[in-house]
Symmetry: C2
Subunit: 195 residues, 2 copies
DNA sequence: ATAGAAAATCTAGCAACGCTATAATGGATG
DNA sequence: CATCCATTATAGCGTTGCTAGATTTTCTAT
């Protein structure tokens, strides 16, 4: 029983292995989704990809939906960071434009990731008390853009988000031609800076 | 061979039967989707619902996706009509508001229908030359709101659509609380009328 | 009216899916 | 080294979208 030292080492190594494999699974899922679409991200396919049997995946995530949800959370994290970077790098008056560009760039460069965050059926509500902090973080970046500048900053941030999401989604699903994208950004920025 | 008369009657009846059954299938699909979600709209379930075997559905629509696409087209038709009605019933200066309300009302009252139109993976592009007229019709209603009032009416209409779609989608997927919806409409209308 | 052609419909089954009970295997502990 | 316990694999269940082939029904033509 005096070997709590070695025992800890072993436990740590096991934990690292677990996390490494978890990351491996998520990486494989994202790669397949981005290249071949989410329907091709099957549990069997993933278990092939990581050279483990299917039950291992269920030990990690409980269900296929659990895997997609984990990827979505990663996505929200990354989106939040991208928006934060864009906002902090720019001057006060051009912040809205920078953030808009960063948002649409994110959605355009990782369409499958964006899809799993918003378009697939999984339930990742925001208002609930158990909302992961990664999700709040992204929206807080939008909120800060209007904080103080207007009485109804929250509604403005929501609408700004809705506009960007609408553009991203209608572009991703081929409803908007990609050609006029720059002009769309210009006008939406105009709308949200003149208020 | 002189009976082209009776032959025509028979052909007509068969056509009517076909269309009636087609409508029956779509009605069943929409009902199940609205009550239990699209994953529960299986081909077997539908074949049960209309008391025909599965291959009959494939004779009509070719695939499950074909059924969903047909429902989506119905949805675009109905959305277009709703927007047209809203626009024509209102005065010039309140048209934007009426259309915005009609759009969000449509999305909120038939969430599954709205979902299949926009959120599910099916490919119903707009720009393509084979785009069904039902799809163009809906957007033309939005376009007319800004026609003539601004040089870049098309971009404005696209952004108005994107904003409404973003609100509808973020509300449907529980990202927005339904409580502030009225205020959102007020502000979005403000944004798009002051330009 | 009835036999034969054609159209419509059903039965039965395949491959692939998400998921899980159970068996086999491996590493840590005394 | 023996024994446990955690980890991993095998194998299978029920359901899915879809389809080939058998079967029945409907129309046509004598």
């Amino acid at each position: 029983m005096a070997e709590t030292l070695a025992t800890n080492r072993i436990a740590e190594r096991k934990l690292r292995d677990r996390q490494a494999r978890r990351a491996q699974i998520l990486r494989a899922a994202r790669k397949i989704a981005e290249l071949e679409g989410w329907p091709n991200v099957t549990v069997r396919r993933l278990s092939d990809e990581i050279s483990y049997s299917q039950p291992v995946l269920y030990a990690h995530f409980g269900s296929r939906e659990g895997i997609l949800t984990a990827v979505a959370v990663e996505g929200f994290q990354e989106l939040g960071l991208a928006l934060e970077k864009a906002r902090k790098r720019s001057k006060r008056e051009s912040a809205v434009e920078s953030v808009a560009e960063a948002y649409l760039e994110f959605a355009a460069s990782s369409p499958a990731l964006y899809e799993v965050m918003f378009s697939l059926g999984l339930s990742v509500p925001f208002g609930a008390p158990d909302t992961p902090p990664e999700l709040r973080f992204g929206f807080s970046q939008l909120l800060e853009l209007f904080e103080g500048r207007d009485a109804k900053a929250e509604v403005l941030a929501e609408l700004f988000w809705a506009s960007l999401h609408g553009i991203a989604e209608l572009t991703r699903t081929k409803r908007f031609p990609r050609s006029r994208q720059k002009e769309r950004v210009r006008v939406v920025v105009e709308l949200f800076t003149r208020s």
